[in-house]
């Protein structure tokens, strides 16, 4: 168990030629904690998540995930680290449309031996089928995801993020396309599938979802650049 799930220190990020978008002095999430981060559209929520995932690099400051300073890793190393330890639900799901349900769900395991090992010998396809069934996806497993409804695609994206019990689950506005009832049901389902050791960072503009999480905070409270 790591000491810190996420630790940001003097983090500063700006797009080239533009003013700083993020300026965060210090921010920490403990292992196993579920955190709701609220922010309005364009406030830099997704950029912050991309920094935490190692997809983007800060201008300055330190991003540590599961006690690993991401700046110490190469590009390939960050990809492997992400695959082994992080489950990500993208706002636009980022599924590969030509792949089947199963192939999309098991995709990250192909590059994540540590995460695959957590299946304890269960075949990834079988685990994916079990997870999809639990999430209410009843379509044939070989159906290309392009043929699924948005709601079902969302569940497939969740299944992909959950498969192999990642240490850190990151969700970026995953309920933006859902009505309120469906949103609540989705969040409850998501949290019910997480293990005790899984840390959750859920980002949304919808403040009403805060009640599902251990801790809730607004990005504006963290971001000095937003306050300036």
């Amino acid at each position: 168990m790591p000491h810190r799930a996420i630790e940001l220190d003097a983090l500063r990020f700006a797009y080239p030629g533009r003013a700083a978008l993020l300026d965060i002095g210090s921010f920490t999430i403990e292992p196993g904690e579920s955190v709701f981060l609220q922010g309005s559209s364009g406030s830099g929520k997704s950029t912050l998540l991309s920094l935490i995932c190692g997809i983007s690099a800060p201008v300055s400051g330190r991003v540590s995930v599961l006690d690993q300073d991401l700046a110490q890793l190469s590009a390939g190393g960050r990809d492997r680290f992400r695959a082994n330890h992080l489950g990500i639900i993208f706002q636009q799901f980022n599924l590969l449309p030509h792949l089947s349900l199963t192939d999309n769900v098991t995709l990250s395991l192909r590059f994540a031996p540590e995460r695959r090992a957590r299946l304890n010998g269960t075949a990834p396809d079988a685990e994916a089928a079990s997870l999809l069934s639990a999430l209410g996806v009843d379509e044939p497993l070989m159906t290309p995801v392009a043929e699924l409804s948005v709601g079902q695609q969302q569940r497939v994206a969740v299944a992909r993020a959950l498969l192999g019990s990642p240490d850190l689950l990151i969700a970026d506005e995953p309920t933006s396309a859902l009505d309120q009832d469906a949103t609540d049901a989705f969040v409850e389902l998501l949290l019910s599938r997480k293990t005790e050791r899984t840390t959750v960072l859920f980002v949304s503009h919808d403040k009403s979802l805060a009640r599902h999480f251990d801790r809730s905070l607004a990005l504006t409270d963290l971001n000095g650049a937003a306050r300036d």
Partner: protein
Amino acid sequence: MTDGLRSILWLTWQSLRARRGTVLLAVVAIGISVALVLAVERLRSDARSSFTNTLSGADLLVGARGSPLNLMLYSIFRLGDATSNLSWESFKHFEQDSRVAWAIPLSLGDAHRGYRVLGTDLRYFEHYRFADNQPLAFSSGERFAGADEAVLGAEVAAELNYSLGTELVISHGIGAVSFENHDDQPMRVVGILKRTGTPVDRTVHVSLAAIDAIHGDGAHDHDDHEEHGDHEEHGDHEDHGDREEHSDHEEHGDHEEHGDHEEHGDHEDHGDHEEHGNHEEHGDHEEHGDHEEHGDHEDHGDHEEHGDHDEHGDHEEHGDHEEHGDHEEHAEHDLHAGHDHGAITAAIFGLKSRTAALRLQRDINEYEGEPLQAAIPGATLAQLWSLLRVGEQALFAVSGCVVFAGLIGLLSTLLSSLDQRRRELTILRSVGAGPRTVFATLLCEAVAIGAMAGAFGIALTYIGLELARPLVLERFGFALAAGRPGWFDLAVLAGVVVASAAVAIVPAWRLYRHSVADGLQPRL
């Protein structure tokens, strides 16, 4: 196989499957260009091999003066036509040269349903060799034994569905369609040769006597009239310029079989003996009586030039026609070397010693009797290859350019799909596929396309050549070998694979350098 490699192959397969339409077009485009390269090479090598294999063991080709290459093309490969003939006397002259081991006369110029007819004699079957000194062999039947018999090449028999006993009619000229058929001289198939893979397969072989008969030519080497003691007995022979007919009368007892003498009634118009009819066909005295009707035989002079009575020394012994009634016997005699014929198209000479080839070639080229030329087959083929080399190189250059264009098309396809691929490959990166995996996947796709295109090109080449084989044989006179892909094909395949990978390096490198964040439009 490592997990990484397995993942790359899996991603490659999934990507190719998802883009099967585009991939198929790329494979077809490059495959066709590969097929072009391979076909050019196969045609080149098979043409050389076929030409080289067509004639073996011969030392000289002899024909009327002109181009040695043309002589070889028309006499051996049945391509084109002879511009002039070689007189029988000249052939005999050199055939009897002490340096000559054997000689085969060749008479061309007629056809049967598009297949060339070759008039020759039995020496053809004894001495003609193809490929590695292989003799001609019969799949059925035997050599011709009479002027009304024919031996077919394997292709002729197979294509025309002829068998032993089939009757065929020879047409004047070498076209597939002729309005001048020698219907009065039907030939009977008595033999079918085994396949040789050379123009022999597409040849109808008949005796020189048959050619003479068809064209109304005669053997011209005969005694003076005075030496034919029976001429007076045969009516107006002394008025008939065509002495060959006289000698034939002596040899043919079956007069009733030669009733068509009138068909050769234009004897009066021909000053030289070569243009006169077939002795075998004109046997009876009664028919010679008809000659009187044609008159003007006095106009056919220079009989003395067509002597060679030595070869017909038995003519004098046949004063009485009735005593020489065996037509078959005569025909058999006619098919062998000793008998005389009209002009021939060319001749193949085998020498006792190859070292004599150059000297005999010079003697033939300087022969004063008539303008002749002798060609050494190997040297003439080398001349042919030399002539063709520029064309071959041009074809290779063109087909190489086509392959290059195909690969540029592949590059264009890869680059144009890069935007779409960028997002896809970024998603792969976001779920853990490293930049090397992405680079390798794109490269692997290109290699797979190149390999499939190469394999398709090879298949297309061999299927296409198999289908084109009869056409090539018919039009160009050489047989395409039925072969399996060889080292050259594999080398081209490897070249295309490597070139495809090289072409893909640019887009793969761009994706390698591409950050995950760019592809995800800084949103997760």
